[in-house]
């Protein structure tokens, strides 16, 4: 297992070295070509703060590089995957309608496997060198799948739990303790319904804690999958009857779960953004008594990326936008809890002093844990586990 990871890492290093020697695409030529292009940026549109940030980035890229950005607001990232697929079905290999997708995990795995992405391009981006590839290995391995330059890192995510201090005095620190808390407070906990990614993450988080050998999850699921997943089901069987609505209904996604908290229907909610609670308090969606906690054994973290489909019409414009999104300026603004509160993918020690200061100056947010209290970051399981988890969950809990 260790050997395998090592081999992957070595492979990635060799590949990075290889690209460094290859004839790089000339960035100024790309800027030249990008001018006047319109980039259709397909990004999940369910959060107003994120949409506002994307609009800001679009304005910046417009004034600086003459690239127009239009956000296509998705309800599910797979919509964009479906669209690229429809275009491939119709034989459109140039002039596609999707230029840039906000993506990670199994969506990326599916597009990469089906050859729907632009091959290796991120090394061309001037700002790529600031990415914290050493400290944040998930920028190179998206849910353990080697990125191979087919997507540019955009933001970091780590599982935290939001809880209302007006209702919960001492938050539980393990998934088992969370279940015990739910039993003592029936109806006050829920999680988004898998296959929503946050709901699946809840399952993964529980599985990592309960599995006999959690390291097994880094490898593709195989014959022994049933055995590996076995400890999860008794846990959920006990948990569901004491969930919100007795586990007979689930919120569709993270924001709906957050709304339940705002409506005072639940007291604890899982989140993939350490500063979501702070932003939501500032936005008056959550009461100001909400705080966050993490688990003793660590919580799952990952990176989300932007990728360019194989047939993108505004390929160069998309690269210019991807580079701007990676710039210290854009990343610092993204991390600002008053704007979005999404953690950066950059390594602060690689930045120039003035740029580093942008990050240092940011307020933390009233409900956000400082970086040193966020605890250990656990890697995502291999994407093949996602389908096993979702299928089995569906079979057991969604078929009455």
């Amino acid at each position: 297992m260790v050997r395998r990871t090592l081999a992957l890492a070595l492979g990635a290093v060799a590949w990075l070295a290889g690209t460094a020697h290859a004839q790089p695409e000339n960035w100024s030529a790309i800027l030249e070509k990008a001018r006047g292009q319109t980039v259709f940026f397909n990004a999940w549109g369910g959060d107003d703060r994120i949409n506002t940030y994307v609009a800001w980035a679009g304005e910046q890229v417009k004034t600086r590089f003459g690239v127009t950005v239009q956000q296509v607001k998705l309800t599910d990232t797979a919509e964009a995957v479906a669209r690229v697929l429809a275009e491939k079905s119709a034989g459109r290999s140039v002039g596609g309608s999707v230029d840039l997708i906000w993506i990670n995990g199994e969506n990326f795995a599916a597009m990469k496997r089906n050859g729907l992405l632009q091959p290796s391009w991120t090394h061309v981006l001037p700002n790529y060198r600031f990415v914290d590839t050493e400290g944040k290995p998930t920028t190179l391995f998206d849910f353990t799948i080697p990125v191979e330059g087919q997507e540019a890192p955009w933001g970091m995510a780590q599982v935290v739990f939001m809880y209302d201090t007006a209702q919960v005095r001492e938050p539980p620190r393990t998934m088992v303790a969370l279940s015990a808390w739910a039993k003592a407070n029936p109806g006050r906990l829920t999680y988004p319904q898998p296959p929503n990614f946050l709901g699946t993450t809840f399952l993964k988080q529980a599985l990592i804690e309960l599995a006999v050998d959690p390291k097994r999850l880094a490898e593709p699921a195989g014959e022994d999958a049933e055995k590996v997943l076995a400890p999860l089901w008794p846990y959920l069987d006990q948990l569901h009857p004491v969930l919100w609505r007795g586990g007979r209904a689930f919120p569709a996604n993270g924001p709906q779960q957050r709304r339940l908290m705002g409506d005072n229907e639940v007291d604890i909610a899982i989140s993939f953004n350490p500063s979501e609670a702070s932003s939501a308090i500032a936005n008056k969606e959550l009461p100001d008594t909400v705080r966050t906690f993490v688990l003793e054994g660590g919580t799952i973290g990952n990176t989300s990326f932007v990728a360019i489909p194989f047939n993108a019409k505004a390929r160069e414009g998309a690269m210019v936008l991807a580079d701007f999104l990676l710039s210290p300026e854009a990343q610092a603004r993204k991390q600002d809890p008053r704007v979005w509160g999404g953690p950066t993918v950059l390594a602060l020690d690689k930045l120039m002093a003035a740029d580093r200061q942008r990050f240092v100056d940011l307020p933390l947010g009233v409900a956000t844990l400082p970086p040193d209290r966020l605890g250990r970051v656990l890697p995502e399981p291999h994407p093949t586990w996602v389908e096993r988890l979702e299928k089995e969950w569906q079979r057991r809990y969604a078929t009455r």
Binding site: V72, K73, T75, K88, G105, N114, R259, Q394, A398, T399
Partner: protein, 573 residues
């Protein structure tokens, strides 16, 4: 002008192309779309490596856990919704037709037809949930709750909230269809005759009038039935999730990251089509049963004089539907100006205009796009419908009654069954992602409704006006433009407004034809409903309701102004 050109522009000649053009626009893409869905359902989709026909997708489909429940949910939702809405409307019409109450209902329910399903569903959900408005109004002083109780009232596993949400929206629609039918059959006289035989008012209506209007509202009923069986957007908001109805399950498959699900989804889409046909078959069987029992009931000759309780029940049911829609709309309007509105406050604690002001440019742009698409789709549809109806009056033998069925095809074939295939067609023709494609996508659903709304007034127009004009030497064309259309202006504008409202409400066609690039108020509202911020959802839902309403105001105001000096063309009801 050369003779052939003049000939070609002769309206009588141009008219000939109208039915053909209508069919090509309407049915061509649907058939092509169905084919584009059917091929992957049997394993053929070369882009994903499916190059041989197989039954694998069907095996996978039927191995899906919970599929039987999904199917049952789809069928029960459609059948119960339709039966309940029809029962309310028919009982109300039987009890109150010809009274002031009936005229009031007509006045109050007509504007509600224009309210999009999604907006009602969003408001209705907030009304009903345990932390929703109803509970907030009575908490804590009456219920004792300071924290919302944990009941499954919305998205319940049996789909009751979905059925209720659909019923309140279908009641106004079926009510207006019944009204239109009543105007056709001279209902008053039949009932008067029955009354003179000693029948109670309600029984007289049910026995003498209902059998005559039912054939006329049969197609609209099928449309309601098909809609209930295959609805996606409302089911996403109000429907159960463990498991969801088949239509929502299909959307999840079509959107799954694992592209191999495309095959299962396509097979499922065909199954969905089968369910609609099955539901219609069940309905037809029930029709016979009701007809058989009804005939015996009529033959038995019971007079039914004591119908007070049912009359009261009918008006209460209708009132509940009306009030539920009204409060759903009010809830969304309030949220759009709320800054903070937490349980158990009956009203927002802090009001603000910021939800609107902060996104004014965006709102205008999206509202404008919605407006442009709706106006074009409705104008094209209105012109085609007028053309078809005019041709029908000139050569009635050419157009069989059967052609009406064809018009209903887009309303009965589930959208999801042909939109994926149609999308590939659009991409292939490089038409996707533009306004034009979206206009076409809307047109498929706008046309049938415009036709429904205009056909009756057009057909019942008194032809003696035309004869008089012809005798005075006017050409048929002049009769049409100088006599007929001005007299029918109100009906034409109402039909246009109906088409406009239908276009504003379209979700799936906008999504598929627009390649996600064309945002309308409806797609924004649904996208935001996936998020959690009710304040924003309120803004979009409110605009989504306001736009069609304005169209109806215009449709009422323009003739009123134009005919202000012509007493006999003014509205008299």
């Amino acid at each position: 002008m050369a003779a052939p050109v003049r000939d070609a522009l002769n309206p009588a000649r141009m008219l000939r192309f109208f039915p053909a053009a209508t069919l090509v626009f309407l049915l061509g893409p649907i058939l092509a779309g169905l084919l584009g869905t059917a091929l992957p359902a049997f394993g053929f989709l070369p882009a994903l490596g499916g190059e041989q026909l197989s039954l694998r997708p069907w095996e996978q489909l039927f191995a899906t856990p919970g599929l039987a429940t999904s199917i049952r949910l789809s069928l029960t939702t459609g059948l119960i919704t339709t039966a309940l809405a029809l029962a309310i409307v028919v009982l109300f019409a039987a009890a109150w037709h010809g009274t002031a109450v009936f005229r009031w209902a007509q006045r109050l329910l007509s504007p509600l037809l224009s309210v999009p399903h999604v907006a009602v569903a969003l408001g209705f959900a907030f009304l009903l949930i345990p932390s929703g408005w109803l509970m907030r109004m009575f908490s804590p002083w009456a219920t004792g709750y300071t924290r919302p109780p944990d009941y499954v009232l919305v998205q319940d596993p049996a789909g009751i909230s979905l059925i209720l949400g659909l019923v309140i929206k279908e009641v106004p629609y079926l009510f207006l269809m019944v009204m239109a039918a009543l105007a056709q059959v001279d209902a008053e006289r039949y009932r008067t005759v029955a009354r003179t035989f000693g029948y109670g008012p309600m029984v007289a209506w049910l026995k003498a009038v209902f059998p005559r209007i039912y054939p006329q509202i049969r197609l609209p009923i099928f449309a309601v039935l098909a809609y209930g069986v295959s609805v996606v957007d409302v089911a996403m908001i109000l429907g159960p999730t463990v498991p969801p109805p088949l239509s929502v399950q299909l959307m999840q498959w079509f959107n799954d990251a694992d592209l191999a699900y495309r095959f299962v989804a396509s097979a499922g889409a065909l199954l969905q089509f089968g369910l609609v046909i099955g539901a219609i078959a069940i309905w037809c069987f029930a029709e016979r049963l009701v007809a058989y029992v009804g005939r015996r009931w009529i033959d038995a000759g019971s007079r039914g004089r004591s119908d007070g309780a049912i009359r009261a029940a009918a008006v209460i049911a209708l009132a509940i539907a009306f009030i539920a829609i009204l409060f759903s709309m009010a809830a969304m309007a309030l949220w759009s100006v709320a800054e903070r509105w937490r349980f158990p406050d009956a009203m927002p604690s802090v009001l603000t205009a910021a939800n609107w002001l902060e996104r004014t440019p965006d709102l205008w742009a999206i509202a404008l796009t919605t407006l442009v698409i709706a106006v074009i789709a409705a104008i094209v549809a209105t012109i085609l419908v007028v053309g078809n109806l005019e041709l029908e009056t000139r050569r009635p033998e050419k157009i069989a009654q059967r052609s009406l069925w064809l018009l209903y095809v887009p309303l009965i074939v589930p959208q999801i069954a042909f939109l994926f295939g149609a999308q590939i067609l659009l991409v292939w023709a490089s038409l996707d992602g533009g306004l034009l494609a979206v206009v076409w996508g809307h047109f498929l659903f706008v046309l049938p409704y415009v036709f429904l709304s205009l056909a009756d007034p057009y057909r019942s127009w008194d032809v003696r006006f035309a004869r008089t004009a012809l005798c005075l030497g006017a050409s048929p064309r002049r009769v049409l433009f100088a006599v007929k259309l001005p007299m029918l202006l109100r009906a034409v504008l109402v039909a246009f407004a109906v088409g406009f409202a239908v276009s504003v409400a379209q979700y799936l066609p906008t999504l598929f034809a627009g390649a996600g690039r064309v945002s309308t108020l409806t797609t924004e509202a649904v996208a935001l409903s996936a998020g959690g911020d009710r304040r924003l959802i309120g803004v979009y839902a409110f605009l989504q309701m306001a736009l069609p309403f304005l169209a109806f105001v215009v449709a009422a105001a323009v003739p009123a102004w134009m005919f202000r000096r012509r007493r006999d063309l003014q509205v008299t009801t």
